[in-house]
């Protein structure tokens, strides 16, 4: 599934980051690396860009660019041991 298709409020684990070199490099630098947990927090009033939460901060991204990120949705809602995985730093398997 693409990150751009993930609904608002949903959390997912990044499986692959594609796209042109510059865009890809930029996304990776901002912390959108494989295995990172990311939540779609909101959508801009006009429906694009989207607001994400990852690694303890908030990032905005256009749907077009988010389409380069493959994710696996997880149905988890903040379990105690990782104090809301998505909005905090955290990777699956590392913190549990």
């Amino acid at each position: 599934m693409k990150l751009s298709e993930l609904g608002v409020g949903k959390t997912a684990i990044i499986s692959e980051v594609k796209g042109q070199k510059a865009l890809r490099g930029h996304l990776l630098d901002m912390g959108l690396t494989p295995n990172t947990c990311v939540t779609v927090r909101a959508v801009a009033p006009m429906g694009d860009p989207i607001e994400l939460a990852l690694r303890g901060y908030r990032l905005t991204l256009r749907l077009e660019d988010a389409g380069n990120i493959e994710v696996e949705p997880i149905s988890m809602v903040c379990s105690g041991n990782c104090s809301s995985c998505a909005s905090n730093s955290g990777k699956r398997g590392k913190r549990s």
């Binding site: 690396t33 901060y57 991204l61 660019d65 905090n88």
Partner: protein, 666 residues
Amino acid sequence: MILALAGNQNCGKTTLFNALTGSNQHVGNFPGVTVEQKIGTVKKTRDGSDVKIVDLPGIYSLSPYSNEEIVSRDYIFNEKPDGIINIVDASNIERNLYLTLQLASLGIPMVIALNMMDEVKSNGGSINTKKLSEILGVPVVPISAAKGEGIEELKDVFIRVVENKEKPKPVDYCTGEVHRAIHSLMHMIEDHAADAGISRRFAATKLVEGDESMAKRLKLSQNEIETIEHTLIELEHEAGVDAQAAIADMRYDFIQDAVEKTVTKMSTDSKQHKMSVAIDKILTNKYVGLPIFFIIMGIVFYLSFDLIGGNLTDLCETAIDAGIEAFRSWMTDFGTNPVVISLLCDGALKGIGSILSFLPTIVVLFLFLSIMEDSGYMARVAYIMDKLLRKIGLSGKSFVPLLIGFGCTVPAVLSTRTLSSERDKKMTIMLLPFMTCTAKLPIYGFMASIFFPDHTGLVTLSLYILGLLLAVVMGLILKNTLYKGKSVPFVMELPNYRIPGLKTTLLLLFEKARDFIVRAFTVIFGASVIIWFLQCFDIRFNIVTDTESGMLAQIAKLIAPVFSPLGFGNWRAVTALISGFMAKEAVVSILQVLTNKDTAITDIFTAASAYSFLVFTLLYTPCVATVAAIRREFGNRRKGVMVALLQSVYAWVIALVIYRLILLFV
């Protein structure tokens, strides 16, 4: 010694720079580009040593992908600073340390200024700086730039580190295949790296990340490049490792591990974070986000151009005029030659005065803009407006400069500096003159009240809309021709809301005001004198008493036929247009001066040609202050002049089309 100050955006870099250097700042450009470079001298170092600090652009990585990153990299590699101060936002430590790891591998003496420690503490968190420093191999000094805490310690540490040339201890965050690849490349490029003065570890890592500009900088031979490519292909296909993603991942893994060992409380648990999320529920809300934005901008405009700025400007105008008159009568009493009096009063002083009276408006406008920027709201504006502007090939970040263009084009051009990509910046500047500035408004009002007394509002509105429509068309044309390249990806952080620092804001205002005044006294001074000269002398350099026999009118008479197809091939109208180059307000005053005798304004224009004149006024070359600002941002005199000429050409074409259409249908 020269130190480079590097850090992410929104981490308090400017505040720290100001805290270290006070007002001992010098603004210039980075070599070869028009990116603003601030250099400051550190005040009161304990041992009296002379330390200069260069403020690098806010960056997230040392990749060669964005304008800021390239500028920062080039600065470090070409200018070779003696040390680096890396400012890290402790309240958002994980993402901030990503840049730190790369900076530390440069092999340049370095200090980490761990900022916003007050915020961390007030949230009941703590960071073990000693341990963090051990893990990263770089000294860490906890500070709070906004409160001025830890600044003296920071100074002591960076002076010590630079004087003893304490390089960061190498940190190995890479493992497995990538680690082996980096090490084999390190050996291979050792000599090249030494020649280029770049740390081989940094260079090798960048090469494995697929950074082609690094290969160029190291001057690698074709043979070596092929070997590297082979190594990368091997990594990718045989070991199944995606090197670029793997390195980013390993950096973040290493950081996460370091953070777990040293930081007690998570950033998302902080009051500031929770409050920002709550504020954004309203300000970026699906339904009220946009209306609130327009209300905020409406208030800002009202205060800048009317209530505060506008009234101060009127006051300034009156004061300057009174000053000039006092000066004139003093010189007359003194018996100065009338020509000199006229040169000083009507030429130079009047020109500068008319520009200087804009100063209050600009200062007030920039006060609000800097509050919007520093509080974090500007990032939200870019976020909510992005979709609209993308259609004409820009990003949401261009919205505010365009909006300011409705006030005054000069500050609008200056504010494009906040745009990260050179392409977006230039494109925004090209579109700015289409936004009707407040100086053009009196022209619309004046002409409309004479020729369309029942529809003044409608005429004015139609011109605003025409400008916007043409901006869209121009944007689409530029997007598909001159600026075909894709805009920089819109990957933007939403920082926590913060209360802007008083000192930072005041320093910024001071800087803008100084910038503006310097411009008024150079370019605008020259232009005023030229226009005055053309107005007051005839071709034989005799002084004239009426504007009609002056050189300006003579030139206007020569040019006038060019405007006949547009319906106003009249020297009076053309004189007004030429004077409008000084300041658009002059169009009305010159028209009034030239028409109050035997020729009424209704003799010069018909309703159709009056509208065509207004269309031309809307579109033709902006005032000299704007052209000067554009020239500066383009960093190229020829391009600035080209833009100005181009504007007159399409203004002519569009006015012609509209005039003919009106004649056809009315």
